[in-house]
Structure formats: structure tokens, C-alpha cells
């Protein structure tokens, strides 16, 4: 009595490539390739110096090896560090000037750059390989004093802000991949929200890796000045290739007094095929500083793609009464591996943090939650609550929970809970009896399992994410 009409694994629907002429940096990691990037981006000398400083530092660093997913050695000399569509060598001033092929690519991805057909209330910065190709809604935002542009433009046009905040959350010397990014980052988004401004729409960056043998190293910097608010979304896809591609981004958030930043990610990089060939290595450093009092940073992530995901979006709660949140869904299927979680560093008084992590593992995949909650000596009356739930589908996959909990303050409270379970047969039977097939039932139950996280996403993304949860697990129950 088995359901026969399943197991038709839907192909990764973003797996197409765009045939477009591109300009590339010389292959390999060297001072020359860094100078090339800096020159292509028309950067001032201080920026180049900063990059070279990072590069010199990198020579003394080693790749970390403590994480659970192991990967074959990456040959850093065999990668291109810059690739840009030729047509975008000068960033177009308006959408009319953007290469139609690019517009078509984003349309296929469901990201219309055309403002009339836009997602309601979402401004988009589209990054194609190493460059930002279009930013929508600029004018409307400028009226409010909001700066939303590519980081390259910000370096040229807002050097004071960039100098002040770039590297202030993730230091130049932080760890191997963060430092590598500091040396070779190509593009990414820059956001500045002036004091007391509530950003009227969702800001969004859409990352697309197109070129082969190319690493993507974007850098995002978001500053919410006193009393401001912004919600930012990040989406990403890549073509299906049988090589592994490296994605090592840095994202820095700074929230000043009474400011709030909400950062949501739906990560759907190419995960590799059923046998684990190809896929993106997603080694990302994301960190936010709640620098001001009463500030808040909230991370939400839905991680379904990539061959290996390895990221810990973190909050440094410096300001008194500041709040950090981390909501995460990580789904791994086939041979995917994810080692993800967060760090909540409580430094200020009355700081609060909340961690909700849902890990789902199917096929031969491995899913690890790794997190740190650190309550400093002076962080009196602080609180953390952590809930980590894992769902296993089959006994060829693994689910792991590795929380590090440190408490040095007696007036502060840390609570951690974790469970591991499987989808219960009775639940499946109940759904089946109401007419749903196995895949639909699994999708429904898993979405229920993830609900606390999904409801943190802005509406436009939540629907997409729910579908993604179902698709990612197709073929995993039979």
C-alpha cells in the first residue's frame, strides 16, 4: 500500500546559466588580482590599502578546521576573484540601460527589476557575480535620506560612513574566510538609515553566481542610526555546476541607540546533485553589533541550499537593554551539510537574546546547530532563551546540537532546550486520511515544525520559503 507517484525529485529550478560576456580578474589570489579588483571598482587608495592589509594578514592565517563538515582543500590560486558582465562595467544609471539579458535572468528568478512589476514594497539591489547591476527605488528612498546602493558606490560616494563602520564589527583579522573577504570582496549592498527614519519598504539584495570557477565574495554593511528601523532581505541562487563554488561573504550590521535591524535570508544556492557532486560552499560571516542602548538586531534565516553551509549570524549586545534574536531553519537533504547557529555575546546590562533553531535532516545529510551564549560579568539582568529542535528523516542522516553556554553573572538567566524527533507515523496517517499524499503531508508537517521561524519572515518571503521547505525535502520520504 505504498504511494507510487512520488520520488520524482524536482530539479533545482534556478539551475540555468546566463550566456553573457564577462570581464574577469586574472586567475588566482595575489596582490595583482586585488589591485585589479580595486581598479575596476575605481576605489580610492585607502580602500586598496585596507584590502592589502587584509591580504598580508591572510598569509599568516589558516583555514579553520573545527567545524563538523569537512571539505576538500580549496585551491585558492585556481579561482577567479572578479567576474562581471561586460555590459555592466559602467553601472547603468537607469534600468533602461541594463542589459536585457540580465533583466531576463532576474525575471526568471522571480525578481523583477522593472519597478512597475515590482514586488510590492520591496526595493532590490541585484548582484550578478561580482557586481551590483541594478538598484530599484533609489529615488523614493533618497527622499527620506536613506542610502541604499552597492558597496562600491558607497566607497566612492560615502567614504566617511564606510571608513567609520567597515570592519568595525568583523575586524580585518577575524578569521580566515572573513579576512579573505576583506581582501577580495567585490560587491554587495550598503544601507544607511538616518536617525528617526523608519524605512518605508523592505530592502532586498538578490545574489546570483553565474560564472564558473568564480568565487563570490560580497560584502554588506547596514547602519541603522539612532531611532531608525530597517528590514532587509537577502536571496541567492546559482546555476547547477558539477564543480564546487566558494561563496564567502561578510555581512556587518550596526544598530545605534533605539535602532532596529531585521535581517532575513532565504538561502537557496545550488546544493549539488543527489550524489553530492557540485554545489556551493557557503562560508559566510554575519555579525551585528547592537551598539546603542535599546537597539535590536534580529536574524532570520531559511537555509535550504548549498553543499556546505557554515555560518553563525551573531549579535554583540553592547548597548544596555539591547536585544538580539536568531531564528533559523536549516534543511539538508541528499549529501548536504550544514553547520550553523549563532553567537549571542551579552555585554550590556538588561540585554536579551532569543534563539529558535529548527534543523531538518534527510537523505545522507548532516545538520549541526552550533551556538554560543556568553553572558559577561557586567551584563546584569540579562536573559537568553534557546530552543533547538531537530527533525530526522531516515537513519542515514545526522542531527547534532552543540551549544556553548557561559554565564558569569548571577542576576542573568540562560535557558537552553533541545529535542530530536522524527515525523510521527500517526501524523502522516492523519494527513493521508484527509486526502494528502506522502509528500504533501511531509511538507505540511515540516512547515508546522518550522512555523515559529517562518512567521518571522516578511509576507512576500514567507510564502516562497514555505514552498521551498516542501521542495527541499522532496524524495526524502517514501
Amino acid at each position: 500500500m505504498k504511494n507510487q507517484n512520488i520520488n520524482t525529485l524536482e530539479d533545482y529550478k534556478y539551475g540555468f546559466t546566463t550566456d553573457i560576456e564577462s570581464i574577469r580578474a586574472p586567475k588566482g589570489l595575489s596582490e595583482n588580482s586585488i589591485k585589479f579588483i580595486s581598479k575596476m571598482k575605481k576605489e580610492p587608495q585607502w580602500m586598496l590599502d585596507w584590502r592589502l592589509k587584509a591580504f598580508n594578514r591572510l598569509k599568516n592565517l589558516k583555514e579553520p578546521n573545527w567545524q563538523k563538515p569537512k571539505y576538500p582543500k580549496i585551491n585558492y590560486q585556481d579561482l577567479y576573484y572578479y567576474s562581471a558582465p561586460k555590459s555592466a562595467s559602467e553601472k547603468p544609471k537607469s534600468l533602461d540601460e541594463v542589459d536585457p539579458k540580465l533583466i531576463e535572468t532576474y525575471k526568471k528568478l522571480g525578481i523583477p527589476l522593472n519597478e512597475q512589476k515590482r514586488l510590492s514594497g520591496v526595493a532590490v539591489d541585484a548582484v550578478f557575480d561580482s557586481v551590483s547591476v541594478a538598484t530599484t527605488y533609489k529615488e523614493e528612498l533618497t527622499k527620506k535620506g536613506i542610502i541604499f546602493c552597492s558597496i562600491s558606490e558607497a566607497i566612492r560616494n560615502h567614504p566617511d560612513l564606510v571608513k567609520k563602520y567597515l570592519g568595525s564589527v568583523i575586524p580585518l583579522t577575524d578569521h580566515y574566510f572573513a579576512t579573505l573577504n576583506s581582501a577580495v570582496f567585490t560587491d554587495g549592498s550598503f544601507v544607511y538609515i538616518p536617525p528617526k527614519v523608519r524605512c518605508p519598504m523592505e530592502l532586498s539584495t538578490y545574489f546570483r553566481i553565474n560564472a564558473s570557477e568564480t568565487g563570490q565574495f560580497e560584502r554588506t554593511l547596514i547602519i541603522a542610526d539612532k531611532g531608525s528601523y530597517v528590514s532587509y532581505l537577502e536571496g541567492c541562487t546559482a546555476p547547477m555546476r558539477d564543480e564546487n563554488q566558494l561563496h564567502a561573504a561578510n555581512v556587518e550590521l550596526v544598530a545605534l541607540d533605539d535602532a532596529e535591524i531585521k535581517y532575513s535570508t532565504v538561502q537557496n544556492w545550488y546544493p549539488g546533485d543527489k550524489d553530492g557532486v557540485g554545489g556551493i560552499y557557503n562560508f559566510v560571516t554575519k555579525r551585528g553589533a547592537c551598539r546603542g542602548k535599546n537597539s535590536k538586531i534580529s536574524w532570520t534565516q531559511v537555509e535550504t541550499g548549498s553543499a556546505i553551509t557554515w555560518k553563525y549570524p551573531s549579535c554583540i549586545l553592547q548597548g544596555d537593554n539591547s536585544v538580539g534574536e536568531f531564528y533559523s531553519i536549516a534543511i539538508t537533504n541528499n549529501h548536504q551539510k550544514a553547520d550553523t547557529g549563532t553567537k549571542m555575546i551579552h555585554l550590556g546590562k538588561n540585554t536579551k537574546s532569543k534563539i529558535i533553531s529548527k534543523g531538518i535532516s534527510a537523505g545522507q545529510a548532516d545538520n549541526t546547530y552550533r551556538g554560543l551564549v556568553d553572558i559577561g560579568k557586567n551584563a546584569s539582568n540579562s536573559r537568553n532563551f534557546t530552543q533547538c529542535d531537530s527533525l530526522l528523516m531516515g537513519n542515514k542522516c545526522g542531527a547534532h546540537t552543540v551549544p556553548y553556554i557561559k554565564n558569569k553573572n548571577s542576576s542573568s538567566t540562560v535557558e537552553h532546550e533541545a529535542t530530536t524527533s522524527k515525523i510521527n507515523d500517526e501524523q502522516l496517517f492523519y494527513c493521508n486520511q484527509r486526502g494528502m499524499n506522502q509528500e504533501e503531508a511531509v511538507s505540511l508537517i515540516v512547515n508546522g515544525f518550522c512555523k515559529e521561524v517562518l512567521q518571522q519572515l516578511p509576507m512576500e518571503f514567507a510564502v516562497e520559503a514555505q514552498k521551498l521547505v516542501g521542495i527541499s525535502l522532496e524524495g526524502s520520504v517514501g
Partner: protein, 417 residues
């Protein structure tokens, strides 16, 4: 101060009459230890307890000689019929099994017949394997249930001064047999010393082992114990640990649930005071289906104390229907105290029930308020709440006489400061 403690290889030459195999085993382990020295916080298992730092801050030298002291007559627990072993500085000095059938029990001095087991991670095990020459080996025959509890008196004499003791103990319980033990630590030394124990507990099918471990008065001891426990099918292991009062104490407990239907229960309650540093590290390996493990660890931390709990539950892919639970609760009474925990799950089977929880925080102010409104002062209220917090564990002890005995010891600790 010693920063880089190494053991001279001629220490091994002092062991006369050992087989070539044993000699090689000792040398191999000595080299491993000397290569790494005492572990520091760079090593994941020692992340929260930097032993190298602790040793170098507290010891000018460490003598590896075995101290063969005679203690004055051991004061036995009164009004409590029991068998006993007396270990003086780790060395088995006397035993008494008057309540039991002697032919069911084999007791020996230090004994090791396993020279293949090379531990990968823990330098203190290497040190122990290289140098241990004291300890006991206790074997219980099949189908024998002990009539009375066995108390193991661990006495440390006043001669100890900057020594490190390495001993090795083994307990094997035969099929369908049952043993209850109490480990009691009595410290007569006023000086700093280290005690490094390797313990091996083997439970055959259907065997039952219940252990209660009580650390007594405050001392300058630095203790490390690695305990490897192997559970055959339907065997049951239960341990209550009440350690406290040591400068440094790390219990590294490994359980291998190798037989179906085996069960392991671990309960610990500690009150840590000024300058105490204590770590409980567990690793429970669920290797076959239908096993249970349950851990609950409670710590109360007073001024300038540090508590650590690192617990790992590992579930192998074939270990379906595993039921594993892990809970750590800590009360921080003062800002100069610190509690770190790492409750870890590593799971490869889907039809399992595994969960853990960890909390740390302050004493509940509304409870204090309630008690004070009934006329207690703040200090009394805190004491009462602390004893209640720890009592939850003690209440789980089934035997009334033992429960009372432990309660008395804990009350002494709470009121002793």
C-alpha cells in the same frame, strides 16, 4: 612554577617485573603525555578547564613517586553495616567482605591486562597508563547479589605535598549480579596534591550497579578521574555524585551502552565554594537499540567558584528507540562565579527520543521574598532554597539510610560556610 611539566622516562624503569608488552604500553603513553603536557583550553575537551594554567599557577613541582603511607585506623561509618575497601593514597590497604560469600568475590591490587587501549584525546589518561601502579580490581561472580553496601574509603594522608597520584581501578559485575557502593573521600593532607584515577566498570548481562560518590571536607586536592563504563544487555547503572570542596575536580565519564535494554542513570549535585573549580564531562554512547540514559546535573556556585558541565549524547545509526535525556541546572549566587555548559547531541538514528535542557541563573527572588515574609532572614532563605535545589537529587536515592547520610553531608556543606 611549572609551565611545562614532563615526566622523565626513567620513571618507567622503576617498574620491575613487568612484561615487555606492559613496558611498551607505558612508554608509549609516557611519550604521548610528554608530547602534549597538561591539556589547555585549546583542546575542545578542556575548553572550560585550562588544566595547564591551573597546574602552573598552583604547583612548583609535582612528584610522581608513589607514597606508601600507613594511615592511622580508619574511622568507619557508624551504625551502618557495610563491607569496605580502604585505599590509602590510591593504594588498596585493606578490604573486608564479612557480610558476603567470599568465593563470589575476587579482590586484587592494581591489575591491568589491557595494553592495546590507547586513548586518543586525554593526556591525563596517558599519564595514568604510563605511571599507575596502585588501585584495586574487584570482580563479582555471576548470579550474586551483595547483601550489604560496599564502602570504598579513599584516604589521602598528610604526607602528600605536591605529589601526583596515578591509580587504576576496575569493577566487574557478573551476570545477574548486583553491587551497591559508596565512594567516600577523606582527606588528611593540608597540602596541594593531584590525584589522577582511571576507572573501568564492566557490567555483564542483567547486572546492576549503584554507586554513590561523596567528596567530604574542603581540601587542596586537584582531582581528575576518567571512568569508562561498559554496559551489557539489560544491565543497569546508576550513580549519584556529590562532589565538592576540591580546588579542582574533573570527572570524565564515558558510558558505552553495548547491550540492548541497558540503562544508565547519572545524578550529580554540587555546592561549589570559593576557588573551587569543578567539571563534569559525560559521553553516553548509545550503540544498540532500546537503551535508556538519563542525566541530571545540578550546581550551586558561590563566590569565586567555577562550574562546568559538558555532556554528550551520541546515538549510532542502528540505535533506534533510544531514550536519552540530559538536564543541567545551575544557580549562581554571586557575580564572581561562573558556570559554563555544553550539552551536546550527536544523533544518527531517527526513531529516538532525545532531549536536553540547560539553565543557569540566579536564585528566584520571589521565593526569597516569600520565605522572608514568613520570618526568615535573607541568608537563611538562600540556604533553604539551595538545600531544596540540591535535595531534588538526593530525594531520588531509594535507600533511606543512605539518603539521610547524604543529606547530612550536604547540610554540613551548606552551613559550613
Amino acid at each position: 612554577m611549572i609551565n611545562n611539566f614532563k615526566v622523565n622516562s626513567n620513571e618507567i624503569d622503576k617498574f620491575k617485573k613487568i612484561s615487555k608488552q606492559e613496558k611498551e604500553f607505558r612508554i608509549k603513553n609516557l611519550n604521548l603525555f610528554n608530547k602534549n603536557g597538561f591539556p589547555n583550553n585549546k583542546s575542545e575537551d578542556w575548553k572550560f578547564s585550562d588544566l595547564r594554567d591551573i597546574v602552573s599557577k598552583n604547583f612548583k613541582k609535582l612528584d610522581v613517586q608513589i607514597i606508601n603511607s600507613k594511615s592511622k585506623n580508619t574511622t568507619l561509618i557508624k551504625n551502618f553495616d557495610h563491607n569496605f575497601l580502604v585505599l590509602i593514597n590510591g593504594n588498596l590497604s585493606s578490604s573486608n567482605f564479612d557480610f558476603e560469600e567470599k568465593n563470589k568475590i575476587k579482590i586484587k591490587n592494581f591489575y591491568n591486562d589491557n595494553f592495546s587501549d590507547i586513548n586518543k584525546y586525554n593526556p591525563l589518561i596517558h599519564l595514568n597508563h604510563a605511571l599507575s601502579d596502585t588501585g584495586y580490581s574487584l570482580e563479582i561472580a555471576d548470579n550474586y547479589k551483595f547483601k550489604k553496601t560496599l564502602v570504598i574509603y579513599n584516604i589521602f594522608t598528610k604526607e602528600l605535598n605536591e605529589n601526583i597520584l596515578n591509580s587504576r581501578n576496575k569493577i566487574q559485575i557478573g551476570k545477574n549480579s548486583e553491587l551497591h557502593t559508596i565512594d567516600l573521600v577523606v582527606n588528611e593532607s593540608k597540602n596541594k596534591f593531584m590525584n589522577n584515577v582511571y576507572e573501568n566498570v564492566i557490567l555483564k548481562e542483567n547486572a546492576i550497579y549503584k554507586n554513590i560518590c561523596i567528596q567530604n571536607e574542603k581540601s587542596d586536592g586537584f582531582f581528575h578521574k576518567f571512568s569508562k563504563n561498559t554496559l551489557s544487555s539489560k544491565s543497569k547503572y546508576s550513580s549519584f555524585i556529590f562532589p565538592s570542596g576540591l580546588k579542582f575536580n574533573k570527572l570524565d565519564l564515558e558510558f558505552n551502552l553495548e547491550g540492548e535494554g541497558s540503562e544508565c542513570n547519572l545524578q550529580a549535585a554540587s555546592l561549589l565554594n570559593k576557588n573551587d573549580h569543578q567539571e563534569i564531562k559525560t559521553r553516553i554512547n548509545h550503540l544498540v537499540p532500546n537503551c535508556k540514559s538519563y542525566q541530571i546535573v545540578k550546581n550551586v556556585l558561590n563566590t569565586e567558584s567555577k562550574g562546568v558541565y559538558q555532556g554528550k549524547i551520541f546515538v549510532k545509526d542502528i540505535a533506534q528507540k533510544t531514550d536519552a535525556y540530559q538536564l543541567s541546572k545551575a544557580l549562581l549566587l554571586n557575580d564572581n562565579s561562573e558556570f559554563n555548559s555544553k550539552p551536546e547531541l550527536e544523533i544518527y538514528a531517527d526513531d529516538v527520543k532525545c532531549s536536553h535542557g540547560s539553565t543557569s541563573g540566579s536564585i528566584d527572588e520571589t521565593s526569597i521574598y516569600y520565605l522572608m515574609s514568613r520570618g526568615l532572614n535573607r541568608e537563611e532563605s538562600v540556604r533553604l532554597l539551595v538545600s531544596g535545589f540540591l535535595n531534588e537529587i538526593i530525594e531520588m536515592i531509594k535507600s533511606n539510610s543512605i539518603k539521610k547520610f547524604v543529606q547530612k553531608k550536604i547540610e554540613e556543606q551548606i552551613h559550613g560556610n
